[in-house]
């Protein structure tokens, strides 16, 4: 019903959050409500596809501090609905409408 959000069968709505300092790469904005277009021909949104979309559409600087090869860089935890993505197929995880995906840089200070 809203005028400022696009929803259709061709996009997946996600809540993305960046924390632990990773938000600096995203204009210091921690929470992003986004609609991710599906690749033509694919019916589902996979984490692998999301990472590329985030890098190309949200990331503002230093991509090497976010990604390494096809995955996130070492030291970044990925949480899908408050669950370590290691428990749900990592790059191959399928994302549903309104899922929350958190990217968090692990801290070492004390």
């Amino acid at each position: 019903m809203g005028t400022d959000s696009v929803e259709s069968n061709d996009t997946v709505h996600l809540n993305l959050e960046f924390g632990g300092g990773l938000e600096i790469l995203f204009g210091s904005i921690k929470c992003h409500s986004v609609d991710i277009p599906l690749n033509s021909g694919s019916e589902k949104l996979k984490m692998e596809h999301l990472l590329v979309w985030v890098r190309d559409n949200l990331l503002q600087e230093r991509p090497e501090f976010f990604m390494k090869e096809k995955s996130v860089r070492p030291g970044v935890l990925v949480l899908i609905n408050d669950c370590d993505w290691e428990l749900c197929e990592r790059l191959n995880a399928t994302l549903e409408n309104n899922d929350t995906v958190v990217f968090i840089s692990t801290l070492h200070g004390g």
Binding site: G19, G20, G21, K30, E64, F65, K68, R73, P74, G75, L77, L79, D82, C83, D84, E86, L87, V102, I104, S105, T106, L107, H108, G109, G110
Partner: protein, 282 residues
């Protein structure tokens, strides 16, 4: 190093009376705690509140490891120290504060930097290990040593207004390397001394570390194993998320071929992580 406490004397019953009244904790929880020994590695922002609350709670023996001296710019967060300790060793300052609140506590001062050469000997003396350090190579070293020796590890970290907490190597849960097999690239992570921290944030996380260590040592409650607490102090939002299981292929903790004490001594943690074990400025 643990004491052989098998009963509560009159002073203990008075001192710990409010804890003895907690149904889930009670006399057995206190007796277990009094028999336990806990090592806090780092007497900085995390270690200040962790060590003070462990001392007050009535563990049997508290070990403190640090090789630094107290500086004025520590005092916005390191509440175990005071202005009169500036220039003196953090271990001495922290031990004095812990014994001031609980003279029945045995405190062991380890005024050294934890290295691959001494970590096995140090950690082997304690039941539960609290990682309150501030750098990546020491975090790998402590976790690897805890795997080799079968010790539960309560790990906390803080930076800016963010904090994180989890328990590694406990009851079949993952170790630090199961989560982070590869260290982060240089520049992607920073220490408090480089990029700042709001003082009370490590205070909160350090107190949570004391809680987890007390729960493990007393056998009361469900420790934060296979889970991580993530604190965003700016918005006061907190998540407790579900972490992965132990990685059966972990290079360090896999069944039947866990890392050995000798292998730890042969590893170069500084070159592995590209970062220094010491938090002193170069």
């Amino acid at each position: 190093l643990s004491g052989g406490q098998h009963y509560l004397d009159r002073e203990m019953i008075n001192r710990y009376s409010r804890q003895l009244l907690v149904p889930a904790f009670g006399v057995q929880g206190q007796l277990n705690l009094l028999k336990s020994s806990i090592l806090v590695v780092g007497a900085g922002g995390l270690g200040s509140s962790a060590a003070l609350y462990l001392a007050a709670a009535g563990i049997g023996c508290l070990g403190i490891v640090d090789h630094d001296n107290v500086e004025l710019n520590n005092l916005h967060r390191q509440i175990i120290h005071s202005e009169s300790s500036i220039g003196n060793s953090k271990v001495n300052s922290a031990a004095t504060a812990c014994n001031a609140i609980n003279s029945m506590l045995k405190v062991v001062k380890h005024e050294v930097q934890l290295t691959a050469n001494n970590s096995v000997d140090l950690i082997n003396q304690y039941d539960v290990i609290v990682d309150a350090t501030d750098n990546v190579p020491t975090r790998y070293l402590i976790s690897d040593t805890c795997v080799a020796l079968g010790k539960p590890l309560v790990s906390g970290a803080a930076l800016g207004m963010d904090g994180q907490l989890t328990v590694y190597n406990f009851n079949g849960g993952p170790c630090y390397r199961c989560l982070f097999p590869v260290p982060p690239p240089q520049g992607a992570c920073q220490r408090c001394s480089d990029s700042g921290v709001l003082g009370v944030v490590p205070g909160i996380i350090g107190a949570f570390q004391a809680l987890e260590a007390i729960k493990i040592a007393s056998g009361v409650g469900d420790p934060l194993s296979k889970r991580m607490l993530i604190l965003d102090g700016f918005s006061t939002s907190i998540r407790v998320v579900k972490l992965r299981n132990r990685n059966p292929d972990c290079s360090v903790c896999r069944d039947g071929s866990q890392i050995t004490e000798r292998e730890i001594q042969e590893l170069n943690y500084e070159s592995f992580t590209g970062s220094s074990l010491s938090d002193k400025s170069p």
